[in-house]
């Protein structure tokens, strides 16, 4: 078991290094940061001085090694655009993204499971069919369009909800939260729906099909024959057995919610890490891009690692040690 885990951890680190290398080799196609950093009045000497100062005149493997060297010591460099430590900026932005992702995930899980169960039980009902067909919208419309449509309806036409930003936030010792103020909560509604809609429909459809499957099993029939109440059968026996694959998917989707918050954050001017990343690309802010990509890949790799190890615990056949 130990050697299995060590092997997995080793593979994960390799994946991280490769992701970083690929990212770094891509950066020079994004453009030249010098041009954004110096005004149009700059001279060629200014350009050379800054290139040297930032180490941009060196080949990219060298730049990459220097980045790794710093990253291992927890130093991600200085943002070209804001002139501040990248780690400080990321820490400042993380609460916004994590809060949005958490609210979206909770929303997606609760609504997804509830609607999935409902549409499975009332398989041929009018409401269930209506939910199923509208859920197609959630799967097929791109996120930015959903965001813009929601803004148009609820901000511009109805004037109910804010179209951008986080509203008033409360600072709890380094963690800013919008969950404690009225305007903060209002600001969360549209972005979290936009971000969670796809995951919600995914979970709903999964729960529905799993539930339909389970409802056909013999033990459900026997339960009915015993004369148990519908409620007990559906929620005590059927739902529990439905949730095993659903939990796996939810775990994997959590990473996706954080990573794909980029688009939602751009549409709603949500001051999180995704918006930071988009700004960084436009400005060719290499330290921020590198740190963000590494952070996201660490997250995905960590989630996959945990899932792998959990599987191995559940299913002994996956342990490689014996064979």
């Amino acid at each position: 078991m130990l050697s299995f885990m060590l092997r997995r951890v080793g593979q994960s680190i390799l994946v991280l290094l490769v992701v970083g290398l690929v990212a770094f080799s891509m950066f020079r196609f994004v453009g030249d940061p010098i041009d954004n950093m110096l005004g149009q009045e700059r001279t060629l000497e200014d350009i050379e001085r800054l290139e040297q100062q930032l180490g941009l005149d060196r080949p990219f493997p060298v730049q990459y090694l220097r980045f790794l060297e710093g990253a291992i010591q927890g130093n991600f460099g200085v943002s070209y655009r804001q002139g501040r430590e990248v780690s400080e900026i990321l820490l400042e932005r993380a609460p916004a993204t994590l809060e949005l992702a958490a609210v979206s995930a909770v929303l997606a899980i609760l609504l997804g499971i509830a609607l999935g169960v409902y549409t499975a039980i009332r398989r041929d009902g009018f409401v269930a069919n209506f939910i199923m067909s509208t859920s197609l919208i959630g799967v097929s419309l791109p996120t930015f369009l959903i965001g813009i449509l929601l803004i148009y309806l609820f901000s511009v036409e109805l004037n109910w909800l804010p179209s951008f930003g986080r509203g008033e936030v409360v600072d709890l010792g380094g963690w800013t939260t919008g969950l404690l103020t009225a305007s903060g909560l209002k600001s969360l509604i549209l972005p979290s729906i936009t971000l969670g809609l796809y995951q919600m429909t995914l979970i709903m459809r999964l729960v529905r099909s799993e539930m339909l499957e389970v409802l056909r099993q013999d033990y459900i029939r026997f339960a009915r024959a015993r004369g148990l109440a519908d409620r007990t059968i559906h929620f005590r026996h059927a739902l529990k057995n439905t949730l095993v694959p659903v939990v796996t998917i939810i775990g994997l989707q959590l990473g996706a919610i954080i990573a794909f918050a980029i688009i939602t954050e751009t549409v709603f001017q949500w001051p999180g890490m995704g918006l930071l990343f988009i700004n960084a690309i436009q400005f060719v802010d290499i330290p921020v891009m590198a740190a963000y990509l590494m952070l996201i890949s660490v997250m995905f790799v960590a989630i996959n690692l945990i899932v792998d190890i959990l599987y191995a615990f559940i299913d002994p056949r996956l342990r490689v040690a014996g064979k």
Partner: protein, 526 residues
């Protein structure tokens, strides 16, 4: 369900009550200031935010003319042509209550000349700034400098005592990631006082009741909330929903929509920026064309033909939806040296262009790559697409390569493009600025944006002499002569002057500033 309805109704009520306070300017634009240190970054949006709180000696009004700010009078010294004398405004105080005197000006200029300062190039000709008395300053330059005041309009004055007491005498080392007291705190003489700031999220300022111009300017706005909103659609939606009431960086395609919405309006003015194409005429052979062993762009007839093929009126009506002014020279209309006659010299004549092409030996045309940015100017890529079709009419096959500005501009400065789009603004309002960057042959500190390979020693000497020519009539005659050469050589293909749009809620009044730098003290309310 019932509580949900109630909640929504309460939310609606809350948002509508928040909107009646007309004295708050809720201001959105696409980007934020990069820092608050007055001398650390020379960049448009950063200066705009600073202008509300700090002041320079001189500013420009919306026509481009000088307006006294912290200096009331200025003139070259009668005794020494290398000295400018400034009379300072009396009775001005900083936000912290400190009196404004000559010592603060000397201190601020010395600070702006430090190696880390991004403003040092603009005042590079100043060798000494000395205080004659508390309200008189003399600036000594390394030679006569007739247009020195034009370089001072973004040069902000700090309080010496405050800066020293807070240990922020050194300009922030921006590239080194330094945070100083001055990057997050402000003590200026301006009409608004900093209340709070979260970079990229929100900056709040309130009216300075002790402002020296309290009775001179409307100062109708009591509070400013500045929020960057990057996404165009979201920014416009925020204006339409009333969450913001003043918008810069207005997307062209939404102007009609906003203007026709009740309670909103769009104001416009020509911007200090001209858009044009540059052509590499200096190389013996071009990389990006299909002509071997020769450079078609080196022939002035080809360049003239290309300019004649461009239908500027069509670009104005179709691509820009009226939001541009066709150009015949690469100087914005307020700049010294601009003339209406030269700005009308671009004509469209397909037959004439074809004849010129045939005369130059390119009757069958040639093919070339056009490099174009896609995120810098208003509708930059569509303009290039239109040009592709227009040049096709005279047999020139253009392959368009539209890329982000971060990749496009290095191509021009590194000489890796033969045919490119560029836009230019003139902060000094004088043609010399254009000549120095776009016309003078490329050297390490001059002609840096001249990607045409054009290098004329006589013209270069004339351009260099402008800097110290104090006889303004002779200087203007030289400027006109240089422009004549540029026009006759068809050094660039001018397209148009950009038009600037500011959207605002009804009841707010301000004239659009050609530099895109609103000064909130000018806002009026009904």
């Amino acid at each position: 369900m019932k509580t949900a309805t109630k909640l929504l109704a309460a939310a609606a009520l809350l948002s509508s009550t928040a909107m009646v306070n007309a004295e708050t300017l809720r201001w959105a634009r696409s980007g934020d200031a990069l820092t608050l240190d007055p001398h650390a970054q020379n960049e448009g949006p950063t200066h705009t935010v600073r202008h509300q709180m700090y002041e320079p000696l001189i500013i420009r009004d919306v026509t481009g003319a000088f307006e006294p700010a912290l200096a009331t009078e200025w003139a070259p010294s009668a005794d020494d042509p290398n000295v400018w004398v400034f009379k300072l405004r009396e009775g001005v105080t900083f936000h912290g209550g400190e009196a404004f005197t000559a010592e603060d000006v000397v201190f601020s200029f010395e600070r702006a000349q430090q190696p880390n300062s991004d403003m040092k190039e603009l005042i590079g000709s100043i060798t000494e700034v000395r205080a004659v008395d508390d309200y008189t300053i003399e600036m000594v330059t390394d030679g006569p400098n007739p247009i020195l005041p034009a370089n001072l309009t973004n040069l902000f004055i700090m309080d010496k005592g405050w800066t020293e007491a807070n240990n922020t005498v050194n300009v922030q080392d921006f590239e080194g990631g330094e945070i100083t007291y001055a990057t997050t705190n402000v003590n200026g003489t301006g009409a608004y006082v900093l209340q709070s700031r979260e970079p990229d999220v929100k900056t709040v300022m309130t009216r300075n009741e002790a402002y020296w111009g309290r009775d001179q300017f409307p100062l109708a706005i009591s509070e400013i909330i500045y929020t960057p909103i990057q996404n165009n659609a979201t920014r416009v939606a925020a204006l339409l929903s009333g969450e913001v009431n003043f918008l810069q960086d207005m997307p062209v395609q939404d102007i009609a929509r906003v203007d026709s919405t009740e309670g909103k309006g769009v104001k416009q003015a020509p911007q200090n920026r001209v858009i044009f194409f540059g052509m590499n005429q200096g190389a013996a052979d071009l990389e990006a064309d299909n002509v071997e062993g020769a450079n078609p762009l080196a022939d002035v007839r080809v360049r003239k033909a290309m300019s004649m093929a461009i239908n500027r009126d069509a670009i104005q009506t179709v691509v820009m939806r009226g939001q541009s002014q066709p150009a015949g020279m690469i100087a914005p209309p307020f700049v010294n040296g601009w003339t209406a006659a030269m700005d009308a010299e671009s004509t469209t004549d397909i037959e004439g262009a074809k004849a010129l092409m045939a005369e130059a030996g390119y009757a069958d045309g040639f093919s070339i790559r056009l490099d174009c940015p896609n995120d810098r100017y208003i509708n930059d890529e569509p303009i290039c697409q239109a040009a592709v079709g227009m040049l096709g009419q005279i047999g020139i096959t253009v392959n368009l390569d539209a890329i982000p500005k971060a990749q496009h501009f290095p191509k021009i400065t590194d000489g890796k493009t033969d045919f490119y789009m560029l836009g230019w603004g003139v902060p000094t309002y004088d043609s010399e600025y254009i000549f120095n960057f776009l016309v003078h042959g490329r050297e390490s500190d001059i002609g840096t944006w001249n990607g045409t390979g054009f290098d004329n020693d006589d013209l270069d000497a004339k351009i260099k002499s402008l800097a110290s020519n104090t006889d303004l009539d002779a200087r203007n005659a030289d400027i006109a002569a240089i422009w004549r050469v540029i026009q006759d050589e068809q050094l660039y293909i001018p397209i148009h002057h950009q038009v600037l749009n500011w959207a605002m809620a009804d009841g707010l009044g301000i004239d659009v500033d050609p530099n895109d730098q609103p000064k909130v003290k000018h806002f009026t309310t009904d």
